[in-house]
Symmetry: C2
Subunit: 155 residues, 2 copies
């Protein structure tokens, strides 16, 4: 975990902004949800529910793991976070909900955001006629998920 530095979209969200987003989605603002959200935003790579739980306990010692899971689900529902599947092992949570790409370290399993914009025309770059060709075969493509894999070496 690192301190929030304002690099990530949601990180600048003040408590008031978080409250507005939650209420806009029909949820109440609670300190548990705020703590979970702040944990996600200050993490340098996308944590698991258990990692969020351990981190948040230093702020709210008696929070329960079930509450962490419910808070994460609430944040996802309010489009304040996204849930990322993991082939083996627990899911990871990302405080960005906009379309973007991820990097997965094959050595540690860590998942990070890539400083790379979502490219709506990726398929055209692969092959300009691709989407039409796929549609003729029954595949109606509305988006894509790209994950780069390798290893991460902090500099």
């Amino acid at each position: 975990m690192r301190q929030a530095t304002g690099e990530k979209p949601n990180c600048e969200a003040t408590e008031a902004q978080l409250r507005r987003s939650l209420e806009a989605a029909g949820w109440r603002f609670t300190k548990q949800r705020a703590a979970v959200f702040n944990c996600l935003c200050s993490a340098d790579c996308h944590p698991t529910a258990e990692q969020v739980y351990q981190a948040v306990r230093s702020v709210i010692p008696n929070i329960s793991l079930a509450t962490v899971y419910k808070a994460l689900e609430t944040l996802v529902d309010a489009h304040l976070a996204a849930k990322l599947a993991d082939a083996d092992g627990p899911a990871r949570y990302d405080c960005r909900s906009d379309a973007h790409y991820h990097f997965r370290c094959l050595e540690t399993g860590q998942v990070r955001d890539l400083p790379l914009p979502y490219d709506e025309h990726l398929l055209d770059k692969l092959d300009p006629a691709l989407v039409d060709s796929l549609r003729r075969q029954g595949f109606h493509v509305t988006g894509h998920r790209l994950e780069l894999v390798g290893h991460y070496q902090n500099v």
Copy 2:
């Protein structure tokens, strides 16, 4: 599930070929492993362990779900299949182990292979200087996973 039509790489594998691949990886040939492999190859979209179990029971009625899981793990180890993560819900199994792309139907959750070659130069097409730029930020990219999403409408 559909009948094997020979379109998929592993589908032409005779029992003898399957035996050779298993033994090359240090495993024995058993009818349970053969039945599980045949089920994967004849499926029109990548099944879950439970779906394999239900399908294989018509061939080996007393097979256990644990054996199906072990057979799938064995096939993955022998590079005769691959395991695909699912955001929510069980994993899916693919009788191809070469790098290729998938299509995920957002309505049914079904996953299919795409008739699309793996493009090693995808990142260069996104941006020729991308890999170098990422490496300077600590991301050492060795491959990528691309999944197209949308809905599938059989024609």
